[in-house]
Subunit: 438 residues, 2 copies
């Protein structure tokens, strides 16, 4: 028979078991943390009607989308978890309790150019808080406390949640009469880390903006110091624009509330260069950087928006949320050797029977499982050496060999595969649920 | 602005939060049980190259598949988790340890005719054990012990795992010279529960099969009694065919081993009418029925196959596995009111601040979360009544209201929302992690 080559598409992550175990641990930690803050689970379809999914889309997104027909229905795969959330809230408005706090962890699809570390199928881990008509700014301050808990839970201490307010930027542009150029200017500012200050000034000037206006923009961008110093310097700029003033007030409150939420000073900072995309966010914006692994980029980003679902409903639904791109984050951190599995195997114990009658091995395995210990019985007919090698390769931490001698004596040895130590246990005691491994 | 109707496609399940919580609980129980038996996690892409995915498919499957082009690549969505497993094992053969035990829980896609209770996107929860060249029949006996644990864990006691061996049927057909009609006959026999014995005989006769051959087939199908009685009666049929004899021997051993695995007699039975599809399974086959909810159909099915990945590799990879169709099972059981959530809310506690300064509410929430208690703070500016209603609607079991009085006295009341009882707690003790709810 001629064979088909068993390949996986470029841009699609498929892991070997050892990496998959680590990936699942990260995913579970994120999910558990979201639940700790009382976010409700949501699971929407991966396929939606193209009309629904693209109600708002345009530009780059539309080009990248997986869109196809089945029968005469125009379908598309979701490219993020926000549009499905907007659809869901608009559709189920009358059946939800507000503020509606939901998390969703699921795969999304973007037909990006395939390159190393870029994925066409990837997990997003989102939380959003949606208000009915209004949503207290306290919610903007709670989000960083969720980010803080997630990143700590993932094992990192040295990270910074950077916060800004879009109104500051918008007000600034209004004050220098550059509202119509704001999208372009923001795009250039977003690159400052990569291309440097001089190049930013040059590119902005190329838009035909005058020097004193550029100076004003740059004096804003270049504000340095602690979060409090930055807020004071923003005040000192004395920009006479109501949008700017509102942004400054919101950002000042946010800093105060973030402290109330107990985020340590070293883990958050006002960063006036953060803009987060161009038209979606309206107030607070967040990015999160691992300071030892800056090359990873922002691991968790989001912000405040005025209206979640205006393409589907007249209801005003303001919200605030973040997204963590798990597939890329896992890929990068794994490549950098920056993450380790807490438990390298699924099985805690491998029971190796060297007898035909499996009664004793099965009874012990059942007793272990009832105590919440993942227990595997090696059921194939192999030499002891091959069975031990299997435990070794799967990094199973404990092994119990059960042969005729053990059955006769009523005593088994539990072998710790890391230390090599063996401890004796009475079979009857194990079967009765008196279980200790070391 | 004109609005797009926020609809979800027919055949795609999308749940309200209360149902989603229940669904997640079922999914987690299945996953935890699979892990208890030492199965490794696997997550393969939902999109595969159509050539790879359809290497084996044909007939009904091919018609139902979601297939489309992106650029000039011919793509398809997976329609089960077995084909991706075959691809994965063939592709990663050198990097896996055998027997390779994996579970996968994920969505699959079939463009079936839309009707109530039929889904086009649904979760399958699969386990498989794959051998390298050979696989001990003990593995066939372990699978029912996993099924048993899963179904018990889902809260059911009255269920039957029905087991059969395909070789018995194949051998029977060979012995009456009806090998070439076997697919057709099996298809008719599969319907016996629905159409009855007389209709089965009539339809088989319509294939042009003679009466004494039909009698032989029916005397096989109609064997009744306990599992042991059935095995004895099969022996007594004295069918002189080597395939039949092998099947009988395998089934007899399986019953012996299943008992060794501690499955109670009332939870398994030899059922000679089970065939499970037509060409994939080669030996043992399983189906599982909830006896109080027979209308649900088999909730968990599978069997033994000789060769997992022959379309991709020359390696012989025998395996045994099962699949649980979670989406349909959830839908049916929920409709029948046969499942209840253990925990109806994600949040265990709702903290309701009636003060501006959130220091105390946040400190208490943080202490609770550190103890693994999911805790939400109501952050919006509403009247107390509206806040209590929110807790009520989300069925959050405990509420703590924190107002000026509580801050002054240093004592809060923890309200049990089910009993209405309130117990006093010292704020400082809670903050210090001395947490009791009732």
């Amino acid at each position: 028979m001629s064979k088909t080559e068993p390949r996986t598409l470029a841009g699609f992550m498929e892991l070997l078991p050892e990496d998959q175990i680590l990936f699942e641990q990260m995913k579970n930690k994120i999910e558990k943390t979201y639940q700790k803050f009382g976010f409700l689970p949501l699971d929407t379809p991966i396929i939606e009607s193209a009309e629904v999914l693209l109600a708002k889309a345009g530009g780059e997104t539309e080009k990248q989308i997986y869109r196809f027909e089945k029968g005469d229905t125009d379908l598309a795969l979701r490219f993020d978890l926000t549009v499905p959330l907007a659809k869901y809230v608009a559709k189920n408005y009358g059946n939800l309790s507000f503020p509606f706090r939901r998390y969703q962890i699921g795969k999304v699809y973007r037909g990006e150019k395939a390159q190393k570390g870029r994925f066409r199928e990837f997990y997003q881990c989102d939380i959003d808080i949606i208000g009915d008509g209004e949503l207290s700014p306290m919610n903007d301050a709670e989000i960083p406390s969720v980010i803080y808990s997630v990143i700590k839970e993932l094992g990192f201490d040295d990270f910074t949640i950077r916060i800004n307010n879009r109104r500051l930027l918008n007000g600034l542009f209004e004050s220098v009469n550059q509202k119509e150029n704001s999208v372009e200017i923001l795009r250039i500012i977003d690159k400052i880390d990569k291309i440097g200050k001089e190049e930013v000034i040059k590119e902005i000037a190329e838009l035909g903006i005058e020097k004193d206006q550029i100076d004003k923009i740059m004096s804003f961008i270049e504000i340095t110091g602690t979060s409090d110093e930055k807020l004071a310097k923003l005040q000192a700029l004395a920009i006479d624009n109501s949008t700017f003033s509102q942004g400054l007030e919101e950002l000042s409150s946010l800093v105060r509330y973030v402290r109330a939420f107990g985020i340590p000073e070293q883990n958050f900072a006002v960063d006036l260069t953060i803009a987060r995309g161009l038209d979606y966010y309206t107030g607070t914006v967040y990015e999160t950087f691992l300071n030892e692994y800056r090359e990873v980029g922002s691991v968790c980003s989001g912000g405040r928006y005025e209206n979640l679902a205006e393409y589907y409903t007249d209801k005003k639904l303001p919200g605030v949320g973040i997204s963590l791109g798990l597939t890329r984050l896992f890929y990068k951190l794994n490549e950098l050797n920056a993450i380790k599995a807490e438990k390298k195997s699924i099985s805690d114990v491998l029971i190796i029977p060297m007898v035909d009658d499996l009664e004793v091995p099965i009874k012990i395995a059942t007793a272990f499982r009832e105590k919440g210990i993942n227990t595997e019985i090696y059921l194939n007919d192999k030499k002891l050496k091959a069975k031990m090698k299997y435990a070794d390769k799967l990094q199973i931490p404990y092994v119990i060999v059960i042969g005729e001698d053990e059955i006769q004596s009523g005593i088994v040895k539990v072998k710790n595969m890391i230390t090599g130590e063996e401890t004796e246990r009475v079979i009857e005691a194990l079967e009765a649920g008196q279980i200790r491994l070391d």
